[in-house]
């Protein structure tokens, strides 16, 4: 397994190109934002203050996906 750290041919070249980190970081942030709105917003914290529309709309999913609610 020690030899397995050697990067594959071709992929080493990819890792130095700039667009990749941008896409990976952008995708990660967007995904976390989506999960935040489905699972957490308007529970422990809220970006819209006292409004409860997001919470109520995704309420069944929030409970079912395992996020704390109520």
């Amino acid at each position: 397994m020690a030899t397995s750290y050697a990067p594959r041919t071709g992929l080493g070249a990819l890792s130095v190109s700039i667009p990749t980190p941008v896409w990976l970081i952008g995708t990660t942030l967007l995904a976390l934002l989506a999960i935040y709105f489905i699972g957490i917003d308007q529970g422990a914290v809220s970006v819209f203050g006292s409004d409860m529309h997001v919470h109520e709309f995704v309420h069944d999913g929030r409970h079912f996906l395992g996020f704390p609610c109520h």
Partner: protein, 281 residues
């Protein structure tokens, strides 16, 4: 290549979320409805007790969406968007893992990454803090419960990454099999200790003060001042099945993502070869 992997991750995740929704709409939605009926009935019984005791009434708030909207549009939206987001996260992890996967084939790696994400993002956290239907969960503990749940997810992810790192270090010295066993055992021991150390939800200070010494927030039977039960505790079978279906729905999501990517893996490789290094491949 990363754009293709991400695009496929989002699509497979959304598909997984859609299938999880169909499963859940049929099996879990009746339980959610019963849980809400239980909650309403319990609130009524509590109000009757409070009125008899001369306590102030609490405001129930207005309904923003009908149950039909929540159970169909809202539920499907939540599961599909959640699935797409998890598919996107999978794609990022898979892309990074592909570059250091060593002898593991892209197909096996897809199954390993999806299994690892299912384990750390849902299975392990839910062992300590399982999913709860409506009617279970006290308003006053929402913040600590959310912090504990998210904390469990972060700790699980960090512990699994550390275990993988440990396994690879050991594999250089021991044989692969022993290294995997030691790494898995380390992860299990670390997470067992974390679960022992973190509080159970019923033992949060607000719950201790308000409700007494219980392990969970599951509603106990409601008693009148003379100790007669005027409303039952939450039905155990509904709780069990809600959690079972919650587990199954997440398993469906991660299975679709993992098997879908394993299916596509040879083609992703071909894409990669043609894009990056046509000669070397």
């Amino acid at each position: 290549m990363e754009k293709r992997i991400i695009g496929r991750g989002v699509l497979l995740g959304a598909l997984g979320g859609l299938l999880a929704f169909v499963f859940s709409r049929i099996l879990a939605e009746p339980i959610i409805d019963r849980a809400i009926d239980y909650e309403t009935g319990r609130d009524d019984a509590q109000m009757a007790l409070d009125r008899a005791a001369g306590k102030p009434m609490m405001d129930m708030g207005t309904e923003l969406f009908t149950r039909g909207q929540q159970a169909n549009a809202g539920f499907s939206f939540a599961l599909i968007v959640f699935g797409a987001a998890m598919g996107a996260l999978f794609a990022v992890v898979y892309y990074l893992a592909l570059r250091r996967s060593g002898k593991i084939t892209p197909r096996s790696l897809a199954l390993l990454v999806s299994g690892g994400m299912f384990l750390t993002l849902y299975v392990v956290p839910s062992l300590k803090y399982p999913a709860n239907p409506p009617a279970i969960g006290h308003h006053e503990t929402t913040k600590p419960r959310t912090a504990l749940y998210l904390g469990m997810i972060v700790i699980s992810v960090v512990a699994l990454v550390a275990a993988v790192w440990l396994g690879r270090k050991l594999a250089a010295r021991l044989d692969n099999w022993t290294a995997v066993i030691v790494a898995a055992a380390s992860f299990t021991v670390v997470m067992a200790v974390v679960m022992l150390v973190l509080p159970s939800l019923g033992q949060l200070s607000a719950n201790r003060r308000e409700y007494g010494d219980f392990a969970t927030e599951t509603p106990q039977p409601l008693q009148d001042p003379s100790g007669v039960i005027v409303y039952p505790g939450f039905p155990a079978d509904d709780l069990y099945h809600f959690r079972l279906y919650s587990f199954a729905a997440q398993a469906i999501l991660w299975l679709v993502i993992g098997v879908g990517f394993a299916w596509l893996a040879p083609r992703l490789r071909a894409d990669r070869a043609s894009e990056a290094a046509p000669v070397a491949a």
